[in-house]
Subunit: 345 residues, 2 copies
């Protein structure tokens, strides 16, 4: 067995010298290098933007969607939509573990895993397309995929439905980062606490800050707030538009007796909430931006504009142990399992 590059550079064909994700074409030969994992694929979870684009291009015809998918993989060696630039993830069974990884990865041949790196960088072959679920953007196939040494994955738990596990894994970086940064007794503000990542973050914030901590959830809309109040994890639930910086500041000032948050975690899925996050946070506190709508320049310039000496962290989707931590959160909390089963599965 030959050894490949940790990041998969040995499979890049075109352009030479690129990383696998930005590369146009990679080598999808389903033969394992000594530091790769070969996966027998069951299902592709296509990124929503990518699937909608293909469905439109195919006028909703599943046979044409299948044709587009085969062409993408034939052209590029990966399911990297050339129009949207996005990928998705996959579920499959471990078929082979390269010899250099044996003993290093906590995996056995035959186990079911979900990849946590994008399909846009994952070598993939499709032998047959079995079923296209147009509602869920899920495609059952016969095929093989390769996971690089640096590639992230999670074992699919036997005790949770696949779809619940996938929904949790999709945002598992956020609660794991919460566990890393939030200390016992701290005051934590969660913006957008009623969404998928917000719920996991809120639960973890309560656990990490402990009963002596103070947790404030901000969510827009009475329905979401009622759900959060019913859960009882936050000391206070505030119904507010997180783009309204002045209102958020005043509400958090009141809720914290003017102390503001030690840590603010932004899980809002709309743009324009940087200033709210900054104003909710005490001097020398920290803001953790998990929202993909965050603007780097808005965050940097807003903090300077109000003279706030705070640490602003870019949400890294990966933290060690993030998948296990998030799945445990759901496993150990019946309300969370119920909400994820009803809303996201």
């Amino acid at each position: 067995m030959k050894k490949g590059d940790r990041y998969g550079l040995h499979r890049v064909i075109e352009p030479a010298g690129a990383m696998p994700q930005p590369a146009w074409r990679i080598d999808n030969t389903p033969i394992c290098y000594s530091n790769e994992i070969l996966i027998d694929v069951e299902t592709l979870n296509i990124d929503s933007a990518s699937f909608v684009q293909m469905r439109n291009q195919a006028n909703g015809d599943v046979n044409k969607i299948a044709e587009i998918m085969r062409k993408t993989v034939a052209d590029r060696g990966k399911h990297h939509n050339p129009v949207t630039g996005s990928g998705g993830m996959l579920i499959g069974r471990v078929e082979q573990i390269g010899e250099d990884l044996c003993g290093k990865v906590n995996l056995e041949v035959g186990e079911r895993i979900a990849t946590l790196v994008s399909l846009s960088l994952t070598p993939l072959t499709i032998d047959e397309i079995l079923k296209i679920d147009t509602d869920r953007a899920q495609v059952d196939i016969k095929g093989k995929a390769i996971l690089f040494e640096s590639g992230l994955y999670a074992k699919l738990p036997a005790d949770l439905p696949d779809k619940v596990a996938l929904a949790v894994l999709d945002v598992c970086g956020a609660p794991a980062q919460t566990a890393r940064w939030v200390q016992k007794g701290q005051t934590v503000v969660v913006l957008g606490a009623g969404g998928k990542s917000g719920l996991l973050v809120l639960r973890q914030a309560r656990l990490s800050a402990g009963p002596e901590g103070r947790i404030i959830a901000v969510e827009y809309g009475e329905k979401g707030c009622q759900l959060l109040r019913g859960l009882g994890w936050a000391d206070e639930v505030i119904n507010l538009d997180a783009t309204d910086a002045v209102s958020v500041m005043r509400a958090i000032e009141r809720a914290t007796n003017g102390q503001f948050a030690d840590v603010t975690i932004n899980c809002v899925n709309v743009p324009g909430t940087e200033m709210s996050s900054i104003l909710a946070t005490r001097d020398e506190g920290m803001v953790y931006f998990f929202s993909m709508s965050t603007s780097f320049t808005a965050a940097a310039l807003s903090a300077e504009g109000v003279g706030k000496d705070i640490t602003m962290v870019i949400g890294n989707g990966y933290t060690k142990g993030h998948a296990e931590l998030s799945l445990s959160l759901v496993r150990e909390c019946p309300e969370l399992l119920r909400i994820f089963s009803e809303k996201y599965a």
Copy 2:
């Protein structure tokens, strides 16, 4: 004296409830609230994008530029260019310090200061436009400005030329953050080390890491690299395009014997250098993005794509003591003073 809001909300006219920066119009009455500072303005340093726009609109006619400036301030109560959205900063003399700030700010009436918050949120009146320097985008005026309680400023040092001080103050957050994060003995990579912020960061990194630390400077172009080698602050100077992630990774791997950087500081002024920063950094290390060209999503998705558990920090332009630290760096280092005098003043 009435007391105003810390962030200047009491001066917002339109739209109600906005922060002063996004507000269309603010109250520029040059009368000090008890927590404001009144400044007798000498010079406006107009943001470059804003000045170019006005010069074009005026076909280069300084009288027309003056007219546009007066109209902007009359309409908005601040020199907030309605086309570019940008501001600039100003130099002036402290005329009055609100009574609630006396003893709290280290300032005296008559001292010369530069504001470190944008003109786009600074209440300003213009009585007379004295001189427009179209090469430097500097406008000497008679007028008054207001600094809010949260507003940042720096005393202009008597021992440095104004223009050197302004160039240093423009980027003073970067070396101050370097001093906060870099520890003795660490390995530090500075990307874009030959630019204005890069030079200050490189100098501070050497001081903070000490002789036992390892400092690696990456700069694109042989001329810049020769300058850096001549300074002798970096243990190694590498001539590389920071957008080429694979080359940067390999160069840093070699320069660090495969250990990579504890801290990587990105001062590059072009887009597309997020992956290089991530790959240059060791697992559980830190990347500090000072470049305004940074894309939030590129950083977040790149780290996940390569499974790198690192902390990525958004460069906050403000850190306590940032102006003093940066001016001292230049004052105490004749080479830095010479370069700033030649290149940026």
